[in-house]
């Protein structure tokens, strides 16, 4: 088998993967990026509305800082997030955005003077400060106290990905396009690279590396209705799971975006609502204030999506031949705003719906959007089980989002994680642990195993059809493991998925053409997707509470007493049809922000006795900190800077700071 040696192998060419690659490359490591598609076509490009970073430049962002971003993110996560990671993230996000600004991203800027905005359905005039003129501006997003989503019109992800890719090209980082990792090479404790399939020729190649980083994004395509790109099949998480050693965290935490256009499921950005757009029901009544008087349309995504489905279930949806849906109204924003700041939305409406959002309502319904779960890692993106295996971005669960991610925090996470994990990878490579010590027989063994697996599929004659089974899986996930979950439907899903897993081992290909062979690709990916789907369904069944996006109709309350725990799924027995679930506790006594009400959504939750204790502890600590500044107070509650690479520890300068 052809073998390629490198220091660092990054699997996935989106924002997280490329930023990690650039970080490691700058530290002198040789890096190769593998990508299913040309890197600039990665799904990062589809992020539209914005990237959260507490720059605090525009009027709506005045007074913003890391503390508020931290609190918003933790509340958004419904206290499922690792608070140290959230701190690392909120501290680094302004640096990430400033780095991207220097690299060429044309962030929209503050325009001094008066301008008209739309808030709560009404026009207002605000005045931006002279001093802020030309600095990076931000728009409002759901679940945040400040305007914090920095944006480039509504092509934020596109502009970021192009700039990032261009920097990677400038750094001379090779991207091996149309290459798919089929298996991680490992010895049970150390990861040594991957067996990779060329998606043009069908040839298998071994990539041997000191460090391997999974940055393959989410796995939305296990659902029938998803905003995700068709490549988001979670193959990175899948091959990590198939090691039998590495674990996946919180796989049941799946986000549904409120505004997927109906029925195609294509995303229209949260920026529509952030900029003042409204949700209307079948009678064109604005219903969100009835449910969420505080944040209305701009509660967190899990809450808004749930309220929308609730409203449809109550018989208030608009009905068309495709089924029931609601309306997104951005007409009140005006033609100029839509043409300048929401142009992708306008294009999507034109091309896919044949409507003009300046004059017409957009049909929307929640659609699967994001996977909070992924490859479980430590604070540096390193797998605790498999040394040398790293993960970053949506594919990872270092656990920044807990059970619900805030809009604009994912593109921000990709870059921040890339900055932090890239350094950690370089540190690992130069450490004694990072030495390449594997035997060539191990590589050959894995190569043979993958060749055998592909041959078994190609020669299979069980009569099953890969495409049909995939659709069955997707339909099951959308119908049974969606926004409203309950034991009966989840149990049914688990059984169906088990059955599909068995059937997926009896696929017959109708075609054994040379080269890429799309049917073979569908067949081997299906087997992995079914395992991921089972982690989601089985994990959701076991979690008998409602937290963030995971809502159990039969257990509607958040249960801090029993479920301050992160689900860890592994798949030690390849023949099994269920994952092995374990749980790791979230330590309330170490939290900077102990559990409470989120400020929107349900007020009712089951308290953990430790919450009260921790709260008292915090109050006592704060009493001793009279006169201390913001940073000192924070450091006393939950120090985190030691976890960051040294060059990322400095304080973020803001407008009006004394310096």
């Amino acid at each position: 088998m052809h073998t390629i040696y490198t220091d660092v192998l990054v699997i996935g060419g989106g924002l997280a993967g490329q930023r990690a690659a650039i970080g490691a490359r700058r530290r002198g490591q040789e890096v190769i990026v593998l990508s299913l598609v040309p890197a600039k076509r990665s799904h990062s490009a589809a992020a539209q509305g914005g990237m959260q970073a507490s720059l605090g430049n525009c009027l709506g962002a005045a007074g913003d800082n890391e503390d508020i971003h931290f609190a918003d993110t933790v509340r958004g996560s419904d206290w499922g997030a690792d608070q140290e990671v959230v701190r690392m993230f909120t501290h680094t996000a302004p640096k990430a955005i400033r780095e991207l600004a220097a690299w060429g991203v044309p962030w929209n800027r503050v325009q001094r003077g008066e301008r008209e905005i739309t808030v709560d359905g009404k026009k207002q005039t605000i005045t931006e400060a002279d001093a802020a003129h030309g600095l990076i501006t931000a728009r409002n997003f759901g679940g945040t106290q400040k305007w914090r989503a920095c944006y480039v019109s509504d092509g934020t992800g596109h502009a970021m990905l192009y700039t990032m890719s261009n920097q990677a090209i400038a750094a001379g980082i090779p991207v091996h396009e149309r290459m798919e990792a089929l298996a991680l090479i490992h010895d049970g404790g150390r990861c040594h690279g991957a067996i990779v399939r060329n998606l043009m020729s069908g040839e298998l190649v071994a990539y041997v590396a000191r460090a391997t980083c999974i940055a393959t994004g989410g796995f939305g395509r296990i659902y029938r209705v998803s905003t995700n790109a068709v490549i988001n099949e979670g193959m990175g998480a899948g091959i990590a799971l198939e090691t039998g050693v590495a674990t996946l965290g919180n796989m049941e935490a799946i986000q549904f975006h409120p505004t997927g256009i109906f029925p195609a499921g294509i995303l229209v950005t949260e920026g529509c609502r952030g900029d003042g757009g409204l949700l209307l029901d079948g009678r064109e009544h604005r219903f969100m204030p009835d449910y969420e008087p505080e944040k209305k349309e701009l509660a967190s995504r899990d809450v808004v999506s749930r309220r929308m489905e609730e409203h449809i279930a109550a018989g208030h949806g608009a009905s068309t031949r495709f089924g029931e849906h609601l309306w997104l109204d951005i007409r009140l924003l005006g033609a100029q705003h839509i043409n300048n700041n929401l142009r992708e939305v306008k294009e999507i409406c034109q091309y896919f719906l044949g409507i003009d959002p300046v004059r017409e309502l957009i049909p929307v319904r929640p659609a699967q959007h994001y996977s909070m779960g992924g490859v479980r890692t430590d604070h540096h993106g390193h797998s605790p089980q498999l040394r040398g295996l790293f993960a970053a971005g949506e594919a990872a669960c270092w656990d920044m989002h807990g059970f619900n991610r805030l809009g604009g925090n994912s593109v921000a996470e990709t870059v921040v994680a890339g900055m932090i994990v890239g350094e950690a990878i370089a540190d690992f490579c130069v450490s004694p642990e990072g030495a390449l010590t594997l035997s060539s027989t191990l590589v050959e063994e894995f190569g043979r195993r993958e060749t055998r697996r592909l041959a078994a599929i190609a020669e299979g004659n069980g009569g099953e059809n890969a495409f049909e089974l995939t659709r069955r899986m997707q339909e099951t996930m959308t119908a049974n493991v969606g926004i409203f979950r309950e034991a009966g439907r989840l149990e049914e899903a688990v059984i169906i998925l088990q059955d599909l897993q068995r059937r997926s081992r009896a696929i017959s290909l109708r075609n054994n053409t040379a080269g890429a062979n799309p049917e073979l690709v569908a067949a081997y990916r299906l087997q992995r997707m079914l395992k991921l789907a089972q982690c989601v369904a089985f994990g959701a069944l076991q979690r008998t509470e409602s937290r963030g996006a995971h809502y159990r109709a039969d257990y509607p309350r958040r249960d801090d007493a029993n479920w301050m725990r992160r689900t860890l799924a592994s798949w030690p027995d390849a023949k099994a049809t269920l994952p092995t679930l374990g749980y790791e506790p979230l330590d309330i006594m170490r939290m900077e922000l102990p559990p409470g009400w989120r400020g929107y959504g349900a007020r009712d939750y089951i308290d953990n006795p430790q919450t009260e204790l921790r709260q008292q502890q915090i109050e006592a600590l704060q009493a001793t900190l009279e006169g201390a500044d913001r940073e000192e107070r924070q450091a006393a509650l939950m120090p985190f800077k030691q976890l960051l690479p040294e060059h990322l520890r400095g304080p973020n300068q803001r407008l009006g700071d004394e310096s």
Binding site: A46, W103, E344, F352
Partner: protein, 248 residues
């Protein structure tokens, strides 16, 4: 108003596809026709997926975002390049002919290697911000200000999704493989406009001041007329031509 527009359907589409698998020694380019029952709001993405799933699983094509933003699915649709994912079949005649984009390396059927071409273009034209200050950047400091209008102008040119439609629509690119195409010229104007890029016109001239660059363009305007993102390519190329004549 407030209705999703639908058209009465019931057509049986005849989709004729130029097929060839270069990895199969026995394969020869041929046209194959598939029949597909048209559905409501059917796009070519849906139609092609259906053909692969139900009729011929070996059919190769590229879709990623299926929302018109990633640029993967450029192909020749009834003679002209376009993004298949956002082409509604209801806007096409009953007989549809699909072919891979010319000027790019064929991977199989409708799949072409635009990625390799674009990477080559990027390397050759150095499509990134060239700045001395990038080494040792102070990430803690307030970002330098930029005029809001300039940022918007930059984004206007940055909207290119490298789908390759402009190259496939370009008569020059059909004849000269080394022509950088509107995609390359547009990116040069984008970086030239960006004050963060410190390159001079003389340096840009080195990159595009010849027959493979802006002076190879014969102003056939196929690019302008097929760009799925409606980029102002004619204006930008004319602008670059004037600048490069001055710099030459």
């Amino acid at each position: 108003m407030n209705q999703i527009p639908v058209q009465q359907v019931g057509r049986t589409l005849q989709i004729e596809i130029l097929r060839h698998n270069p990895y199969d020694p026995a394969s020869k380019p041929r046209l194959q026709t598939f029949e597909v029952e048209e559905a409501d709001a059917m796009t070519l993405f849906i139609a092609l997926s259906e053909i692969r799933e139900q009729q011929d699983p070996s059919l190769q094509f590229d879709f990623v975002c299926r929302a018109g933003i990633c640029g993967s699915c450029g192909m020749i649709i009834n003679g002209r390049p376009g993004l298949a994912c956002r082409t509604l079949t209801r806007n096409l005649p009953q007989r549809i002919t699909l072919a891979p984009l010319p000027a790019f390396e064929l991977i199989g059927d409708l799949s072409v290697n635009t990625g390799k071409w674009m990477r080559g273009m990027s390397e050759r034209l150095e499509t990134w911000v060239h700045s001395q200050g990038l080494e040792g950047l102070d990430l803690d400091a307030l970002e330098p200000a930029m005029e809001p209008e300039l940022a918007e102008q930059l984004y206007e040119l940055e909207r290119c999704i490298e789908c390759g439609c402009c190259v496939a629509a370009c008569g020059t690119a059909q004849m000269r493989e080394d022509f950088v195409g509107a995609v390359g010229l547009n990116q040069i104007t984008r970086f030239r406009l960006d004050p963060r890029d410190e390159r001079s016109d003389a340096q840009f001239y080195e990159l595009v001041g010849d027959e493979t660059g802006v002076f190879g363009c014969m102003t056939l305007l196929g690019c302008e007329d097929t760009c799925p993102k409606d980029l102002p390519l004619a204006t930008q190329i004319a602008f670059l031509r004037r600048r490069m004549v001055m710099a030459g």
